[in-house]
Amino acid sequence: MSELAIELKGIDKSFGLVHANRNINLKVRKGTIHGIIGENGAGKSTLMSILYGFYQADHGDILINGQKVNIRDPNAAIAAGIGMVHQHFMLVENFTVLENIMLGAEESQILNAGITKARAELKRLEKEYALEVDPDAVIEELPVGIQQRVEILKALYRKADILILDEPTGVLTPAEADHLFRILGQLKDQGKTVLLITHKLREIMAITDEVSVMRRGEMVATRTTSETSVEELAELMVGRRVLLRVEKGEAKPADVKLSVKNLTVRDSRGVTMVDDVSFDLRAGEIVGIAGVAGNGQSELLEAISGIRRAKSGMVLLNGRPVDVTGNADPAELRKCGLAHVPEDRHHVGLVLKFEESENAILGYHDDPKYRKGFTLDIDAIRAEAEEKIAAYDIRPPNPRLKTANFSGGNQQKIVLAREMERNPDVLIIGQPTRGVDVGAIEFIHRRIIEMRDQGKAVLLVSVELDEIRALSDRILVMFAGRVVGERAPDATEGELGLLMAGVEGPKEAAE
């Protein structure tokens, strides 16, 4: 057994009564890729924050390369050779790659000498790890995959021997993810240690050497990856057996419920985000829209649901035209049978500061049944919220609790309960399971399929290709604002991945 890069002994951390990390012991061998998996709220992020110096543990020791260290802040972590690539990149968007890499490590007030040195060092790192990046490119003009590479270079520039990656593939295409894994492999070959935090079991199986599973603040198991299985890991994460595949019968598509014709949407800067998109959505089918985040899916959903003006094109809901280029009104569309589960539940689908019952009527608050004279009928609103809480098993079952205090999965259930219980004809759903734990994913997927089986038309947008393939009856792939292909759900991941990267799409879409 080779020596340990990281050893955690009895790490304990509480926030008030919340025991976020409970007596965590972890051994990470030098020169390996070590995966850490767990549901949301299992304590992964807290543990990594302790390791990177954002928080201090209440008890326990951290040993780096066998030496006990005291990591008071991120600077101490960097000094100990730990680098972190955050889920949301910590880059200054309008700085160049070189400026970003130097940021915080400028060494003197006058930048010139530092720049020359940094440029040379960057060249060396690029060669050593095959991480090609143009040092003078501006960050905001780079694709996400490359931005992530800059984050890795930033850590290496600070002489990191241990690299922590927090959910690194969330924003990547399958091809970009593969490229990242190759880079990680190279880093490992050079003797670096990689800690990979993810909830995607497939990635764990693909590239880690060892994997540790966290559940409810505890480290429940560590396995050698080659000796475990996806099923075992899922069970360890959730604490019970999980159905990873949703059961679903044949679709029985009926009438067209939603028809999108030549829809073009521009963002506030005038950049075309949705480019001449047309498709039909029928009752009793789920159409999935696959694509890497930022290829126009969000804008498409927003235009259909009346939140964002379209530049041109037509949308027919139940055969009636919707004024998507003019005065389409989300409230009016709801009355016509459209329900919308937005991608961003924190800022759009919910008001986190509201109590649960207040969010349970968001968008439907106009309904006379919630009114009593001049005022809202708070009792009726809370009573209805309680029914939904029971039906969707929302926990804790308290309609008066502030929404921010629910977990991600339960927050998503609040939105789903609100939108599904209205018995809509058309349900459009963005990222149904983003930030949702495995147990709740199963529940949400079952509900979506139930909606289809009840004859609803479901439009599903997700960046999780597995989810799209598991739920959809037809898959449309979006790239650069266009629908570049339609496939059956049994299309291979490779085929869809190429479409998502714009490789097989029509020439003009690949611009």
Partner: protein
């Protein structure tokens, strides 16, 4: 990255933290008094005694309180919709037109209890009108409400100067004010209320608009937490994106919210015009619109917080006047410093002691720990 989340129990959130902030503000004020070479204890005595020592003093304190309840509510209503209405000063000033018109037209023919409702409507109407314009400009033209409401304070000042000079001033008078109203334009004092507690209101202008302020406070609570309009305002205030998603008409809510806010600010004019001076004078608002911002901040934009916050500022005004009267080396400006410190600690630095207090409370009280435990980290 999850952030450790701890919610304080209500008594700490709404009681302990404001009290600690206040205590620090007074401590530093004490230091200032000490530097001037006076005794802080004596100053504190005069402050408390001047505000509450006699029925008449209490009357003055509550008179100021009335004014600050109105302007505080005005700012709070706009806050809930995410709008920062700094124009309470101008709106209250222009609201005076409504009061003055009602009184000048009717004070000789109708009793006060008939003139009062008309004056209320007039004050609210002119205040709302003055706030509607910046609201409309933001809703339709995207002009930022903070900038426009500040501008409108200056415009209001000039406009009122003109109106008092050219329209309201009686012929031959030298001072910039309307004529004094007759009985119909004079609100009764709340003698009976004070006498319940065995106190006499004396010369203090503590009048019936205090009750109106309390009614307005209750009305604001109903509006914000119990009506559809309030629901839509709060949705927009917390998350404009969620409001758009819910189909809430942003422009409409902005204009209506500003009108309600301006109407409340305008109603402040009833207190000095109909309740104290019985005429409209130049600059009768005297900064109350700005104090309203501090009151709303300190009261957490909740009527139940605004009333005690208004009382606190009423006390500072009345007690402060008493200090500078009794202790000549402490000038009016010193009182402004003390008020400034209260605003600084209660409003701007509101979160300074929060982490320490949170640790303390959560360490001491098992119940508070349970509240904190509802959110996983």
């Amino acid at each position: 990255m999850s952030v450790p989340y701890a919610k304080l129990p209500a008594w700490a959130e709404y009681g302990l933290i404001p009290l600690v902030n206040l205590a620090v503000a007074f401590l530093i004020s004490g230091l200032v008094v000490l530097i001037v070479g006076e005794s802080p204890l004596e100053a504190a005595y005069h402050m408390i005694n001047g505000a509450f020592g006699r029925g008449e003093y209490i009357g003055f304190t509550l008179y100021y309180t009335t004014t600050f309840i109105f302007t505080g509510l005005a700012v709070a209503v706009a806050f809930h919709a995410g709008l920062f209405n700094i124009g309470g000063e101008g709106q209250a000033y222009v609201g005076g037109i409504g009061v003055a018109l009602a009184c000048l037209a009717l004070d000789r023919t109708l009793p006060w209890y008939l003139v009062f409702p008309i004056a209320i409507v007039g004050a609210a109407f002119f205040g709302a009108l003055w706030a509607m314009i910046p609201g409309w400009l933001q809703a339709k033209r995207g002009s930022h409400i903070v900038i426009t409401t500040i501008m409108f304070n200056f415009i209001a000042a000039s406009l009122m100067n003109y109106l008092l000079n050219k329209v309201f001033k009686p012929l031959g008078s030298m001072s910039l004010e309307t004529r004094t109203f007759d009985a119909g334009g004079q609100l009764p004092k709340l003698d009976w209320l004070m006498s319940i507690f065995g106190l006499s209101v004396g010369n203090a202008p503590f009048n019936i608009s205090f009750l109106l302020a309390l009614v307005a406070a209750f009305g604001v609570w109903v509006l914000i937490w119990r009506t559809k309009l309030g629901y839509e305002m709060r949705t927009m205030g917390h998350s404009p994106a969620a409001a758009r998603y819910a189909g809430i008409k942003e422009a409409k809510i902005i204009v209506i919210t500003m009108m309600i806010s301006g109407g409340l600010a305008g109603m402040m004019a009833l207190n000095p015009i109909m309740g104290e001076q019985f005429r409209m004078q130049l600059e009768f608002v005297q900064g109350a619109g700005f104090v309203g911002i501090a009151v709303a901040l300190m009261g957490r934009s909740h009527p139940a917080g605004i009333i005690p916050a208004a009382l606190l500022f009423g006390m500072l005004y009345q007690g402060g006047a008493e200090i500078s009267f009794e202790m000549p080396s402490i000038s009016r400006d010193m009182i402004v410093i003390i008020q400034g410190l209260v605003i600084l600690f209660a409003g701007a630095l509101e979160h300074m002691f929060r982490p320490a207090i949170t640790r303390l409370v959560i360490g001491l009280s098992p119940k508070a720990r349970d509240v904190a435990a509802t959110k996983g980290a």
